[in-house]
């Protein structure tokens, strides 16, 4: 059974359990939202999605109102627009105006709506900073609740996706605020640093500490790939700027994990550009001077070109194979490397060397 409704004059068949918002989005009709996210249960407290329903005295929250037969909806009527502008103005009155240096610039739903609805920070706004900036010692997550719009997505994300219940809402005098645990640090409130709350935060209130200052959304290219750590196989977007990975963001289309990642997948990327990385082939000095292998200490490393390193390696492996037989060569392939590379290592061992002595660390 379907329900016939009309949105902005367009006739639509909706499902009976659907909200106005769900029905509209399914048919490509945009209703702006801030607190709503399709992955999280709606809280209906940001008042941005207010729409006109014919016959109703007040505007209705599209995210929380179910459709009914014959419903007629205007998403961008005059009343809705005025209401949205006022709501945005209230939010901005309490919001720092540092978009110039804000991490979330270009990736901020509040900024986008302010732009769309042409709302400025009002003259009468406090503009001040109420809360300490960088208020939590979590090493991955930068917390600045001056930018919080109390949408509660972080609360929901932690409770519903991560099932960890770190964030809650506290009342402090007139101000509602988001707090970790009983107003402790995130880690004390048993935060796992998964960054789910960061991924769902629509503003710059929760951002990545380790990507801070390295580049913002409009400057990065996103490359979708698969996590290098565990066998769950989460997909994620590497954020690249000037040839460097500067962060990781969720990719909502990831088959296994959706928006979710764990601390290693989201924040374990900085090894990629670590100064310890090997950048040149290295061989021991004795190999270059055709000396026998020294007992004990193997001596200095010498940087060489690829041809030299590969010639030596090929010669040594061939020597072992030809002198002691193919089974004198052991090959350990890698559970960190690509399928294609593992295939090639298997071909190398069996075809080139002629041994089945190939294994990897699955056992370990």
């Amino acid at each position: 059974m379907t329900v016939n409704i009309t949105i902005n004059g367009q006739k639509i068949q909706a499902q009976p359990e659907q909200t106005i918002l769900e029905a509209a989005r399914e048919h490509g009709i945009n209703i702006p939202t801030l607190c709503y996210h399709k992955d999280l249960s709606p809280t209906g407290n940001c008042r941005i999605c207010m729409v006109d329903v014919k016959g109703a005295r007040f505007l209705q929250a599209a995210c929380a109102t179910q459709v009914w037969e014959g419903m007629e909806i205007e998403t961008h009527g005059e009343k809705s627009i005025v209401s949205r502008k006022m709501t945005l103005e209230m939010m901005l009155a309490n919001h720092p105006v540092d978009c110039l240096t804000c991490e979330a610039n270009g990736d901020c739903e509040l900024q986008d709506l302010a732009y769309e609805y042409r709302v400025e920070v009002p003259e009468w706004g406090t503009k001040g900073t109420h809360y300490p900036v960088d208020s939590d010692p979590n090493p991955f997550i930068f917390v600045d609740f001056n930018k919080c719009i109390l949408c509660r997505r972080c609360v929901q994300a932690c409770a519903e996706i991560q099932v960890r219940d770190v964030w809650g809402v506290a009342q402090r005098g007139f101000d509602e605020t988001i707090v970790a645990g009983a107003d402790t640090t995130m880690l004390e409130a048993r935060c796992e640093s998964c960054g789910q709350c960061v991924a769902y935060c629509p503003t710059g209130a929760l951002t990545s500490k380790i990507s801070r200052g390295l580049g913002r959304a409009p400057q990065v290219t996103k490359v979708t790939t698969t996590c290098t750590y565990c066998g769950v196989g989460c997909q994620l977007d590497l954020n690249v700027k000037d040839g460097k990975v500067i962060g990781v963001t969720s990719n909502p289309d990831a088959p296994v994990n959706g928006m979710a990642l764990c601390v290693k997948g989201r924040y374990g990327w900085d090894f990629i550009h670590h100064p310890d990385r090997l950048t040149k082939p290295l061989v021991r000095q004795y190999l270059l001077s055709d000396q026998p292998k020294p007992k004990g200490k193997l001596g200095e490393w010498v940087e060489v070109d690829w041809d030299t390193a590969l010639d030596i390696t090929a010669r040594k492996l061939s020597h072992a194979r030809d002198t002691f037989g193919p089974d004198s060569v052991g090959i350990l392939t890698s559970a960190k490397c690509l399928n294609e590379e593992n295939y090639l290592m298997n071909k190398f061992a069996r075809q080139v060397v002629g041994t089945n002595n190939i294994d990897h660390c699955a056992r370990l």
């Binding site: 099932v163 996590c227 769950v232 090997l278 021991r284 390696t313 072992a320 090959i331 690509l338 190398f348």
Partner: protein
């Protein structure tokens, strides 16, 4: 996964994470610290428990994080998994909770198996495992009355001298309950490393070619000889736990190691060191200098996942694209290019059969390599980069270019036809606590680090939250030895028959009295200084989960 292959003819995770998390009425998690080792899947289980009311039974000697969400925690003594499972199956049979139809239609060997299980009375099982009889009954009842139930395990089951029998017994349990071939059920070994599944699938094992085609089967051997144009060995090769010790036997003379650090990940580090010192030639292809590189003669700079394009296969057999985002640093190269160049050099001057289609090593990209792989590997026959790039979601077996892949294995029939029940008897651990070494030490990972820690110890934030090796010890034991959580008496020395390490104590009821838990992420206090090379006779997996140790304040 030798155990599962023996029961069903295929050794991989049978189901997918989303059908398990979405449809199982109950979960049985044994020997897997899921929320720390497979974190995102761990949260999927937590969601199922909280929002869907699924039942969760955790069997683990430690009070791991997942226990907070468990309906029931069975805290069996380390090394008594077989007994525990036999006891549970005994009670299931007693109450008639088995799936008679499934057993009759799809399995064989039931009677003999039943005879064995019926010898494990709840009383005796309780004595051996120290799980109260009442909890055994509760667990069996949940299993018997909640269908489908999915079973998950990891190294906590396989890193035992009885690793293979442990797995066979889990297969027995799921056949008994008829939980195979259906969404929300199955036998699900969670694979640790990101591409350990792929490394196994594509010939990174001493007994099989890609796609588990046995080197000992003449037909498979002929197929690869014809494809690669060279004579191939039909003798099963040596495993990692044999290759390295074989150096001292004079059997292994040269080693080519890609992205592994045996000094950190292998048992009995002192012995590994001796072996490495004695090898004639060691070439290491790596991202970073490692503990093993002290013994290397040549080091070749490889590429990280962010620097190459290709595929990984996850724990549920899902093949997914990896995309190059940045160039490798300096002169470092993608590993496939290094392997290819080395192969060409070694083949130089050798004639391979001219009509072998895949004798050569001319690849312009990993997409080419996948075409060759697919041609020779029935499980991957329909896998191409092109399909994956188009957004197709493929889990093997992918039998042809128009085959959609296989999210659930063993639907309607097992890979080998009938599933086999194996009667399994208790095998005590190789090393049990005694007067000199009264504690049991178990090893594993923590959420913030990965394996030997080569990557995670170089990630600033991860190091900040977990910066040194911690030894978990029970508050009662700690109090008895005067170990406290603060002040000066917080370091412990842990010794086994093979070595000794010193580290910070973490006094916590995560471990029961008589047990300590250590990790191998940090070279200055790696638990593998203490572990032994006792191997499961079939899978050759070392017994990391039970080492007898002595503990004292340092």
């Amino acid at each position: 996964m030798a155990g599962l292959a023996a029961s069903f003819g295929s050794g991989a995770m049978s189901n997918s994470m989303d059908d398990i998390a979405g449809q199982a009425q109950a979960f049985f998690v044994i020997g897997s610290n899921t929320t720390e080792q497979h974190p995102v899947f761990g949260t999927m289980l937590r969601r199922a428990v909280r929002f869907r009311g699924a039942k969760l039974i955790v069997a683990d000697p430690r009070r791991i994080d997942l226990v907070d969400f468990a309906t029931l925690h069975l805290q069996q003594k380390p090394g008594t998994d077989i007994v525990l499972l036999n006891g549970l199956m005994h009670i299931i049979l007693q109450n008639g909770w088995e799936d008679e139809r499934f057993i009759a239609e799809r399995c064989e060997g039931f009677e003999e198996f039943k005879e064995t299980v019926m010898r494990y009375t709840p009383q005796m099982v309780s004595e051996t495992t120290s799980v109260p009889v009442e909890k055994l009954h509760q667990a069996a009842e949940i299993m018997g009355t909640h269908k489908p139930m999915a079973v998950m395990w990891a190294m906590g089951i396989t890193q035992h001298i009885s690793g293979v029998p442990n797995v066979l017994n889990l297969a027995n349990l799921q056949m008994l309950l008829g939980n195979m071939g259906i969404p929300g059920g199955g036998v699900n070994p969670l694979r640790g490393q990101n591409n350990v599944q792929g490394a196994c699938d594509l010939g990174g094992l001493p007994n099989v070619y890609p796609g588990y085609q046995k080197v000992t089967v003449a037909e498979h051997n002929r197929k690869f000889e014809a494809a690669w144009g060279a004579p191939l060995s039909d003798k099963i090769g040596a495993t990692v736990t044999e290759i390295i010790p074989d150096i001292l036997e004079g059997k292994t003379h040269a080693l080519y190691i890609l992205g592994e650090d045996p000094l950190m990940s292998d048992p009995d580090t002192a012995h590994i060191r001796k072996c490495m010192e004695a090898v004639d030639f060691l070439v290491l292809q790596e991202l970073f200098p490692s503990e093993t590189s002290h013994y290397a003669d040549v080091m070749l700079p490889g590429a990280s996942f962010a620097e190459k394009t290709g595929t990984f296969t996850n724990t549920e057999r899902r093949i997914q694209m990896v995309h190059k985002a940045v160039d490798p640093p300096g002169e470092a190269l993608p590993d496939w290019k290094i392997i290819t160049r080395l192969a060409k050099r070694m083949l130089h001057g050798r004639t391979l059969s001219p009509d072998a289609p895949y004798a050569g090593w001319e690849y312009s990209s990993t997409a080419d390599v996948m075409i060759e792989t697919a041609a020779l590997t029935p499980l991957y026959a329909g896998v191409t980069h092109e399909r994956l790039e188009r957004g197709e979601r493929l889990q093997w077996p992918v039998k042809a270019l128009d085959h959609p892949g296989t999210p659930i294995l063993h639907v309607g029939q097992f890979s080998r036809g009938k599933g086999i029940f194996h009667p399994i008897d208790h095998i005590p651990p190789a090393e049990e606590p005694d007067e000199d070494y009264p504690f049991v030490m178990s090893t594993g990972r923590v959420i913030y680090h990965w394996h030997g820690g080569q990557m995670t110890r170089r990630a600033q934030g991860l190091l900040e939250v977990y910066s040194e090796a911690l030894i978990e010890i029970n508050p009662d034991d700690a109090a008895r030895m005067g170990i406290t959580t603060n002040g000066s008496a917080q370091r412990v020395r842990v010794s086994s028959r093979r070595g000794s390490i010193e580290a910070q104590a973490w006094v916590t009821d995560r471990v029961p009295p008589g047990m300590v838990y250590a990790n191998f992420h940090f070279p200055d206090a790696s638990a593998n200084e203490l572990t032994q090379a006792a191997l499961d006779p079939v899978a050759k997996i070392p017994e990391y989960k039970v080492t007898a140790v002595h503990v004292e304040p340092a």
